[in-house]
């Protein structure tokens, strides 16, 4: 150490030529790393930018091939149009009910069931776990029609129940995955706390609610965020189980807006419909991609806000909880 101090004093430099080479190569590596990371960030952020910018463009800007990132005219009216066409407030409430209900169901159900799988041995455990994996792998469409029939028998069609109730039991959209995650996570929690609680006389149910759940808060957060995003954006399940237009969740109304625009486009070019080209163009000047993008932004904003609030805890939760082993 002393030698280095003397050397620094003598030459006035803190690094030498041999170190210079190392510094340069490590600098290069760092540069490449940062370039890679920022490049991928651009990729990830691009759709958002695209959506926001397109949603502000007016129709002339969309048709204009020279306009790409900076629109020549701003048209915030798109948002108002999208808002009205999508009947935002009504469907917003529907979406909230479905999302919250199923998220709570998934959190409670998956932790409960995952704890059973993680901490206990019982007959048929392997069979049941196989069912969990099966429910993750089988695509929804395979079981679609019989599931629909089942819910018709329960008279649950046209309510929100088919999406909310199965979640409490470990099913529903990606329900099996949450059980699997919960199992993995709880296998990694040290057993000492539960044993201590048991020694102190806690019942086995009590141990779960008082000791394990508070420890598993990161897991609950992870399940919650994943479930919320999936259910908020979900179109498949909702479109099948709900036929009453008044109960649709938000993504479906965006879907129907897209459908309307497409139909108008078909009518514009077909000879038999009564829609003239000019009338259709008039329609398109108001309802076009920009409106769709505005609708998408409106659809995503709530979930982005929720995510922004939770993201700190969420990401730390994923890291600290270790969805590992």
């Amino acid at each position: 150490m002393l030698k280095y101090a003397e050397k620094i004093k003598k030459t006035g430099k803190a690094y030498w030529r041999r170190d210079k080479k190392k510094l340069f190569s490590s600098f290069l590596i760092k540069l490449v790393m940062y370039m890679l990371l920022f490049g991928i960030s651009y990729l990830c952020l691009f759709p958002f930018f695209y959506m926001i910018i397109t949603s502000i463009k007016s129709y002339t800007d969309i048709l204009d091939p020279t306009v790409n990132w900076i629109p020549k005219s701003f048209k915030l009216l798109n948002y108002k149009l999208a808002f009205e066409t999508m009947q935002y407030p009504k469907y917003f409430l529907n979406s909230v009910i479905i999302t919250l209900g199923s998220t709570v169901g998934h959190i409670l159900g998956a932790t409960f069931i995952g704890y059973g799988f993680a901490r206990y041995r019982f007959p048929l455990k392997k069979v049941l776990f196989f069912f969990v994996i099966l429910s993750i792998i089988i695509p929804f469409q395979t079981l679609l029609f019989p599931t629909y029939a089942t819910f018709t028998n329960f008279k649950w069609i046209n309510t929100y129940l088919p999406m909310i109730v199965p979640a409490f039991f470990g099913f529903g959209l990606k329900g099996g995955l949450f059980v699997f995650l919960s199992n993995q996570h709880m296998l990694g929690i040290p057993k000492e706390m539960e044993e201590a609680a048991k020694i102190d006389g806690c019942s086995f149910v009590g141990t779960f609610f008082r000791v394990v759940l508070p420890i598993a808060k990161p897991l609950m957060l992870v399940i919650g965020v994943l479930s919320m995003v999936w259910h908020w954006n979900d179109v498949n399940e909702a479109s099948i189980f709900i036929s009453d237009k008044a109960r649709m969740p938000l993504p479906l109304s965006l879907d129907s807006l897209e459908l309307v625009i497409e139909q108008m486009r078909e009518q514009q070019t077909s000879q038999t419909s009564g829609v003239t080209y000019e009338a259709a163009e008039q329609f398109f000047s108001d309802y076009n991609i920009a409106t769709l993008m505005a609708g998408s932004v409106l659809l995503l904003i709530p979930i982005i806000i929720v995510f922004a609030f939770l993201q700190n805890k969420f990401i730390e939760g994923v890291e600290r909880s270790g969805l590992v082993e």
Partner: protein, 291 residues
Amino acid sequence: MKQGKIKLNMRQKHSLQGLFFVTPYIIGIALFFVFPLVVSIQMSFGEVEKLSGFVIKFVGLKNFQELFLEDTTFLPMVYSTVADVIVKIPLIVVFSLLLAILISRKIKCKGFFRVVFFLPFIFGQGVVMRLLVDLGITENVFSLQTNTVIPPSFIAYMGPSVANAVNGFLNIIVTVFWSSSVQILILLSAVQSISPSLYESASVDGATEWEKLWKITIPMCIPSIIVVVIFTITDSFTNATNPILEFLNESGIQSLRFGFAGAASWVYCILILAVVGLSYFIFSKIYKNYK
């Protein structure tokens, strides 16, 4: 001890407690899973006679015959989807591992990157994604028309086949990164849970960075890698923008050919199972080797 009371030894008590926690799942299976499973298999072997009464006429392998021999769209779609997914899965896993390792080092703006990389997940499901894909956004990101990254004159000079290849390549990169958010997070938590003392002792023993990567980081992450692989497989195959799913939807709900759709979806399902089983098999072998 009263007469007639059941005496349970500790192991039985333990089992019963476990079963208690799993009971909701068993109820769930009974209510929501068993019946659809059984009926769906029945349907793929039969024809639905009446919709309300579930009268299914057993016709043996006719649906499968129709599926494989008569329908011209199914098999090519299966091939293209499977090829697509099989190419993407290693890419997604490798890239998410790479990104997870990169982010877990000492770099600035770690939090920023973590959030940004998770963003595609938010819009990647469902409607918005479909809209964006329909608009050809995957080509627009690096599009040759919008001059964002590569000057088009350069590509045009190289000729159309190169342009197509570059476009396709960039397309794949884009979709790979957009599907890998959850995977990145899972692998990030795995990488960060490796205790630094392992790395330090390796340094003391004179390991280079490369060796550290292969001998510490990756082996310790293999359980998570297995989870990520399985998740990626199921996610890709059940993705909303998957053409096969649209095919199933259309033939099942709209054309009401339930037997046919059932057979198709079960073939698809067995395919997925095969892929999952294969990858699980491969990874278990690797895991056992490392142990």
